[in-house]
């Protein structure tokens, strides 16, 4: 802690420079603006805004990524409360009490507690990140190739098994991502699956796949949706929350934060499960469980805090091990790698400026949201009434610019169209997208770790079972693969858990 505080302060010094504050403001604004659109979660918002971010300097880009992430999370809550339209899975629970509060004329306190809860959770999440990330990074320095291979098997399996409504579909998506990762030149210089095209030697461009699968598919899905008939809840009586309401919600915020952070650290679990779990715990510990679902403020505070803390918790494996645990952190990893920043245990030692700059930016994002979003909530809600027939084609043009600007090749744009179409069908038929991205991101490193392990053991992988960390990760993999069957049997707050299209 003594060593990390000066580094964090240095991170704040960088994040608080005027130009970086501007990036933070723009990121929070754009993230919220896209996050309020129904069906577009943080992953979709990040993918749509990647083209803009990739053209900034690395520090500005990292700050903008972090604030877009926070903004998109908050944007989802706004529409959940005001319109009963969740922006992403993690906001579904917020609808239960948040919209009831809005209907009772208490939209102001609901929005306030969502922002305050997110702020407290974000702050405590950053403290958790500060405390645990360096420990995990130090521990991970002892990992050899077999441990890394087992870790990646675990990370991928967890995301594949928990991110869809079918284990087989999740695993198929994962294999598809790993297959894509083998396209191009391998570590020994052999060209694989390149169709003798020089443009393919570097493999399939991450941006084309990510933006295609997340952003273009989102546009295509929205083409079919009718956006009329949304009724805006009237914000009346008071916009701000009373001290009594804050005091009442504080316990829920703290419990939600604790649950959210640790659920977020686990690969695959994500903000959606964190929010469900926090809400469920809150109904159990409350003296008045009958008030939940009827406009109970703690029913907003707990899930909102949990999903924000989970988004910070998800940064732990991504930053310390270089293994993202969700689609959103995988997109952040892609962006960081493109900016020549390589997350992993060595980053804490070699690039502390980036690590702590990012952590400071995440914190800054929360403050931005608190001071920016409440006064502008009316504006963000009006975005829902923008004609989608104008918005969607513009999003597609921005996606094209983002992909084209990386390599200036039309082939990448053709891939963009192809992966957009693939993403559309995958989402429509219940195949999760996050495992494809994770497979693509981790595939090369996984293959390299496997190769090194094979050389170390002279082809006898069974000897790796003598390494305790490998065994632990393999047992965790097994647990992750049977988890969906267990979770399906659990019931949260009297309702079955829905784990569908969890792309955050």
């Amino acid at each position: 802690m003594g060593e990390t505080l000066p580094l964090l302060l240095n991170g704040f010094e960088i994040a608080l420079r005027p130009e970086n504050l501007m990036f933070a403001f723009v990121g929070a604004f754009l993230g919220t603006a896209i996050g309020v659109l129904p069906g577009i979660g943080p992953a979709g918002a990040l993918a749509m805004l990647l083209p803009i971010v990739m053209n900034l300097n690395p520090v500005g880009a990292i700050i903008m990524l972090a604030t877009i992430y926070s903004g998109a999370m908050y944007g989802g809550s706004t529409t959940s409360i005001l319109l009963n339209v969740p922006g992403e899975t993690s906001s579904v629970v917020t609808c239960l009490d948040g919209h009831q509060m809005a209907l009772q004329g208490r939209a102001g306190p609901a929005l306030c507690i969502a922002a305050i809860g997110s702020y407290i959770a974000g702050t405590l999440g950053v403290v958790g990140l500060m405390l645990f990330a360096p420990l995990i990074a130090n521990w991970a320095l002892n990992f050899g190739p077999p441990e890394y291979f087992a870790l990646m098997v675990f990370g991928l399996s967890a995301v594949a098994s928990l991110s869809g409504d079918s284990l087989v579909k999740g695993l198929i998506a994962m294999i598809l991502g790993l297959m894509l990762a083998t396209v191009g030149t391998d570590v020994t210089g052999v060209a694989r699956y390149t169709f003798n095209m020089p443009e393919m030697l570097d493999g399939v461009q991450f941006l084309a796949v990510t933006i295609g699968l997340f952003a273009i598919s989102e546009v295509l899905l929205n083409t079919n949706e009718i956006r009329s008939g949304l009724k805006q809840a009237v914000i009346k009586h008071k916009l701000f929350i009373s001290f009594k309401e804050i005091r009442e919600s504080l316990g829920a915020v703290l419990r939600g934060t604790f649950i959210g952070f640790w659920v977020g650290v686990m690969p695959g679990a994500g903000a959606g499960i964190a929010a469900f779990l926090a809400y469920s715990v809150e109904t159990q510990v409350s003296r008045h469980p009958e008030r939940f679902g009827k406009g109970e403020i703690r029913g907003v505070a707990a899930p909102e805090s949990a999903n924000n803390a989970a988004s910070v918790g998800a940064m732990v494996p991504m930053l310390t091990l270089g293994v993202p645990g969700s689609g959103t952190t995988a997109i952040m990893l892609i962006a960081l790698t493109a900016l020549n920043v390589h997350p992993g245990p060595l980053m804490f030692a070699q690039r502390p400026d980036v690590v702590w700059g990012l952590i400071a930016a995440l914190y800054l994002g929360n403050i931005m949201l608190l001071i920016l979003n409440l006064p502008l909530v009316g504006l963000f809600v009006r975005l829902l009434y923008l004609p989608m027939r104008l918005l969607l084609p513009v999003v597609m043009v921005i996606c094209v610019i983002g992909v084209y600007s990386a390599n200036q090749t039309v082939l990448d744009l053709v891939f963009l169209c192809g992966f957009g179409t693939l993403g559309y069908f995958m989402r429509k038929h219940g195949y999760p997208i996050a495992p494809v991205i994770l497979g693509l991101v981790l595939g090369n490193r996984m293959e390299e770790a496997l190769r090194q392990s094979m050389i170390m053991t002279q082809g006898d992988l069974v000897t790796l079972l003598g390494r305790p960390i490998v065994v632990v990760f393999l047992l965790l993999t097994l647990t992750a693969l049977i988890a969906p069957f267990v979770i399906r049997r659990l019931r949260f707050a009297g309702k079955p858990v829905r784990i569908e299209r969890e792309e955050d």
Partner: protein
């Protein structure tokens, strides 16, 4: 007729996806057999990892083909207007494909105005003139932001001489 109905009920979306996936994995695995190591010291070889993926992929494909996922019952019945809604949704991607193919020859400004105007109209904008004017205005804003503001190199095509 009965046989046709049986085939139709067997070939739901998941099973079609399974067959497509199995074909892809089979091709992928077949290609991996032709991959040979470039270096003698590479005892593992470039085809080893793809072959592992092939085995797992084939097993998953078969499981999807013969198994029953929670969605299957719904999809056997078919979604009303499913194919039609797919065509409606996929038309913009065809327009996008056309757009990216003409992007370099005609340049970003002209191609974008054309793409936006046609897509606006396709998505229900009432008049061509308005769609074209709106497309031109939006293209100007996007071009200024990315080309001048963020220094992104965009193809100028017919305007290349003016740059």
């Amino acid at each position: 007729m009965i046989r046709l109905n049986r085939v139709r009920s067997f070939l739901n979306a998941d099973r079609i996806a399974a067959l497509l996936f199995l074909t892809l994995v089979a091709w992928y695995g077949w290609e991996s057999t032709g991959l040979t190591a470039a270096l003698e010291v590479d005892v593992v070889g470039p085809g080893f990892f793809p072959r592992i993926l092939t085995v797992i992929g084939l097993a998953l494909g078969v499981l999807l083909l013969v198994g029953r996922s929670p969605r299957m019952n719904k999809e056997i019945e078919g979604e009303p207007g499913g194919v039609r809604s797919d065509l409606v949704a996929l038309a913009p991607v065809l327009l996008l494909l056309g757009y990216v193919l003409v992007l370099e020859p005609v340049g970003f400004p002209v191609a974008t105005v054309g793409f936006l105007a046609i897509t606006f109209r396709y998505l229900g904008y009432p008049a061509w003139k308005g769609a074209l004017l709106l497309a031109a205005g939006i293209t100007a804003v996007i071009f200024t932001l990315f080309h001048f503001g963020l220094a992104v190199r965009l193809p100028l095509g017919v305007f290349a001489g003016l740059a």
